[in-house]
C-alpha cells in the first residue's frame, strides 16, 4: 500500500520536527489570543460607555432665561408639577409617559416668612423682617449653596434628613431659635407668604435638628411649606428646582420634551419665541443641563472606540493573513523533503494528504490552546468564528504554498 510510505514520512516528520510544530502551534495560539484581547478591548470600551451613562449624573437646574440666577425664581406650581406629577398632558393631550418619569431626586425649595409666635395667639398680617424665612426643602441639597444648611446640622436623636421628604410638622432651626423652643421641643410660628402679606397662619413645629449658622432661617419639609402657601395664597411657587436625569440614555429624548416648557439659557436674556406652537408662547425659565462631565467622558470613550473599530477589519485581515503565513511557513519548512517526495513519484494529492495529516496534528492544538488560554487566563468569550477563520486560512496558506512552491516550480537536477 502506498499509504505506508506516507505514514512513514508523516510519522518520522512529526517525531523529528516536533519543535517546529510546537512553535507554529504556539504562534497560532498567540494569534488567537491577541485577537481575543483586541475584541475584549472593544467590549470593554462599550461597557465603559454604558457605565458612563449609568454612573455620571446629569443635573437639570432651572434658571432665569439669562442663566444668571437659579434661586428666588418664583416658579409657578404648574411648571413645578411637570417634575413631580405622575401624569403629564401637553397641548391638552394626556401623554403616554409622565414628564416626571425622566427625572429622579427632584429637589425643590419654597420660601415663606415667619414670626416666632410664643404666645400662641391668633396673629394678624404684619410686616416681618425679610431674613426670618421659613424654607421648605425636599432634602438638604435643595437648599442653595452658601445657605445655612451648607453648615453642619445636628439632628436630634431619632431624626434624620429623610423627614424633609415627608409632610410632617418638623423643622430645623438655628441655635438662637433653639434656645427659645418649648419644653416639648416645639415652636409656634406665625407664617406669611411674604414679609408684607396681609394673611397669616399659625403653625406648631417639632424641632428635629439645629443648624449652626448665624441666619435665623427655619427649614421644614417642602410639602408642608407648599400646604401653607396654598392655604395662604391658593397656589404655590418654588424658588429653585433641580433634578437628576433618571436614565442618561434618554437625555436627548428628555431634552426635546423639556424644550416644550423651558428654553436653553440665552445670555441676552431675551426669551426665544416658540414659532411652531399654535399658541404663541414664550418661555419664562431656562433649563440648565449639566452634562459636561458626561459629554467629556463619552467623547473620549467614543473616540477610542471609533479608533478600535476602525482598525478592527484591517486587524482581522492581518490576523487571517498571518494564519495563512503560518500555513505557508509550515510547508516551506519541509519544502526540500516534499520536492524529493514529489520527484520520487508522490502525487499532489498524496503530498496534500501528508500536509493535511500533519496540520491536523498541530493546528487544532494551537487553536484549542489559544481558546483555553483566552478563556482561562482572561475569562474572555472565545470568538469561535475567528478561530475557525484562522484555521481555514492556515490550511489554505499551506495548500497554496504547496501548489506553488512544491508543485508549480519545475523540478530540476541542480
Amino acid at each position: 500500500m502506498s499509504i505506508n510510505a506516507l505514514i512513514l514520512y508523516v510519522n518520522k516528520n512529526i517525531h523529528r520536527r516536533i519543535h517546529v510544530y510546537l512553535i507554529l502551534c504556539l504562534f497560532i495560539a498567540a494569534l488567537l489570543a491577541a485577537w481575543s484581547l483586541f475584541v475584549r478591548a472593544i467590549d470593554q470600551k462599550r461597557q465603559d460607555i454604558q457605565d458612563a451613562y449609568e454612573t455620571i449624573p446629569v443635573y437639570i437646574i432651572l434658571s432665569n432665561i439669562a442663566g444668571t440666577r437659579t434661586d428666588g425664581l418664583e416658579i409657578p406650581d404648574y411648571w413645578v408639577e411637570y417634575f413631580i406629577s405622575e401624569s403629564y398632558s401637553y397641548q391638552g393631550f394626556e401623554q403616554d409617559r409622565a414628564f416626571s418619569s425622566y427625572v429622579e431626586n427632584v429637589q425643590i425649595k419654597t420660601t415663606l416668612y415667619y414670626k416666632l409666635n410664643l404666645s400662641g395667639a391668633e396673629p394678624a398680617g404684619e410686616a416681618l423682617p425679610v431674613n426670618q424665612k421659613l424654607i421648605g426643602i425636599t432634602g438638604m441639597s435643595a437648599a442653595g449653596a452658601g445657605e445655612a444648611l451648607s453648615a453642619k446640622v445636628d439632628f436630634l436623636p431619632g431624626y434624620d434628613e429623610s423627614f424633609l421628604g415627608s409632610d410632617e410638622h418638623v423643622c430645623i432651626v438655628s441655635e438662637k431659635t433653639a434656645a427659645m423652643m418649648n419644653e416639648d421641643n416645639s415652636i409656634h410660628l406665625a407664617i406669611q407668604a411674604s414679609p408684607v402679606g396681609d394673611k397669616a397662619l399659625v403653625l406648631s413645629l417639632n424641632v428635629i435638628g439645629i443648624h449652626h449658622s448665624d441666619d435665623d432661617f427655619i427649614y421644614c419639609p417642602w410639602q408642608l411649606a407648599v400646604d401653607c402657601q396654598i392655604a395662604l395664597e391658593g397656589h404655590y411657587t418654588a424658588d429653585s428646582l433641580r433634578a437628576t436625569v433618571r436614565d442618561n440614555t434618554e437625555l436627548s429624548e428628555f431634552c426635546q420634551i423639556l424644550s416644550r416648557h423651558f428654553c436653553a439659557v440665552t445670555p441676552s436674556g431675551k426669551a426665544p419665541e416658540m414659532h411652531d406652537s399654535p399658541v404663541l408662547t414664550h418661555y419664562a425659565y431656562a433649563a440648565i443641563i449639566q452634562d459636561e462631565e458626561l459629554n467629556r467622558s463619552l467623547q473620549d470613550l467614543n473616540k477610542s472606540l471609533r479608533m478600535l473599530e476602525l482598525i478592527r477589519t484591517p486587524l482581522l485581515i492581518v490576523v487571517i493573513l498571518l494564519g495563512a503565513c503560518m500555513g505557508a511557513l509550515f510547508v516551506h519548512s519541509q519544502e526540500g523533503d516534499l520536492k524529493t517526495a514529489r520527484m520520487l513519484g508522490t502525487s499532489t494529492i498524496q503530498i496534500l494528504s501528508i500536509l493535511g495529516i500533519e496540520l491536523l496534528g498541530w493546528l487544532p492544538l494551537g487553536l484549542l490552546l489559544g481558546m483555553g488560554l483566552v478563556s482561562a487566563a482572561w475569562k474572555i468569550n472565545v470568538q469561535i468564528l475567528v478561530a475557525i477563520g484562522i484555521g481555514i486560512s492556515t490550511l489554505l496558506g499551506s495548500i497554496v504554498c504547496c501548489l506553488t512552491q512544491i508543485d508549480g516550480k519545475r523540478g530540476a537536477f541542480i
Binding site: 500500500m1 502506498s2 512513514l8
Partner: protein, 224 residues
C-alpha cells in the same frame, strides 16, 4: 524491453532578463540492457537533458517517446514511480529519514509489501558497499560518498526500467567509482535496464556501452 527515442528536443531556461538555450535539437535512441554515458563541460546541458528525460521539465520542442508513447502524455507521477529512477547530483535524500527509511519510501510508494521492502532495502545497500552500520543513521551523518551510494541504492532498489544518474560517482574514490560502474553495467545487463548517466569522469564514461558528448546543448555520439 525498453526503448527511449529522443527526437529533435530543445529546451530553454527563461528568466526575465535572458533565455538560456540549455538543450538544442538533441536526438538519440537508448535501449534497455545498455549503459549510456553523457560527457561534456560544465554547463553544457547534461543535467537539463536528464531532467527532460525524467519528466521534470517539458521540452520546448521535439518529443521523447518511451516504449512508443509520448512522455508528455503520460501521468508524470506514475512515470516517476514505476518507469524511471533518478540519482540526483545533490542526492535528494530525506534528511529526517534514516538510510533504510530513505530506501523504503519509494518502495512503499510502489506498494511493495513492507517486509519484502525491508529485505530489498538491506540487500541493495549491501550491494553498493554500505555495511549494516549505516542502515539506521540519518543522511546528514554520512560522508558525501556514502550519501551518494545511498542515493544510488534507492534508485536501484525500485527496479524500474530506466535509471538516470547525474554524476553518480562525483564524490566517490576510484575504487568505489569502479564498483558502482561495474554494478550499473551488471544491472543493465542482468535486469535489462536502460541506464543513462552524466559524468565528468572520462575513464568511467569509457566503460559505458555508448558515449555521448554534449557541447552547448548539442549532443553527438562518440565512437568508442
Amino acid at each position: 524491453m525498453t526503448e527511449i527515442i529522443v527526437d529533435r528536443v530543445g529546451f530553454s531556461y527563461r528568466s526575465r532578463r535572458q533565455i538560456i538555450r540549455a538543450v538544442n535539437d538533441v536526438s538519440f535512441r537508448a535501449k534497455s540492457g545498455k549503459v549510456y554515458a553523457l560527457v561534456g563541460r560544465s554547463g553544457s546541458g547534461k543535467s537539463t537533458l536528464l531532467s527532460l528525460l525524467a519528466g521534470l521539465n517539458k521540452p520546448d520542442c521535439g518529443s521523447i517517446m518511451i516504449n512508443g508513447s509520448n512522455l508528455q502524455s503520460m501521468n508524470p507521477d506514475l512515470y516517476r514511480r514505476k518507469q524511471i529512477s533518478v540519482i540526483y547530483q545533490n542526492y535528494s535524500l530525506f534528511p529526517l529519514l534514516t538510510v533504510k527509511e530513505n530506501l523504503l519510501y519509494p518502495l512503499l510508494l510502489n506498494k511493495v509489501d513492507k517486509s519484502k521492502a525491508l529485505l530489498l532495502a538491506e540487500e541493495t545497500l549491501r550491494s553498493v558497499n554500505l555495511d549494516k552500520s549505516v542502515d539506521n543513521r540519518l543522511p546528514s551523518t554520512l560522508s558525501g560518498g556514502e550519501q551518494q551510494r545511498v542515493a544510488i541504492a534507492r534508485a536501484i532498489a525500485v527496479q524500474s526500467n530506466i535509471i538516470l544518474a547525474d554524476e553518480p560517482t562525483g564524490n566517490l574514490d576510484k575504487e568505489n567509482s569502479l564498483l558502482i560502474m561495474k554494478l550499473l553495467l551488471e544491472l543493465a545487463e542482468e535486469k535489462d535496464i536502460c541506464i543513462i548517466l552524466a559524468t565528468h569522469d572520462l575513464n568511467l564514461a569509457a566503460q559505458a556501452n555508448h558515449l555521448f558528448q554534449m557541447e552547448d546543448g548539442e549532443l553527438s555520439e562518440v565512437d568508442s
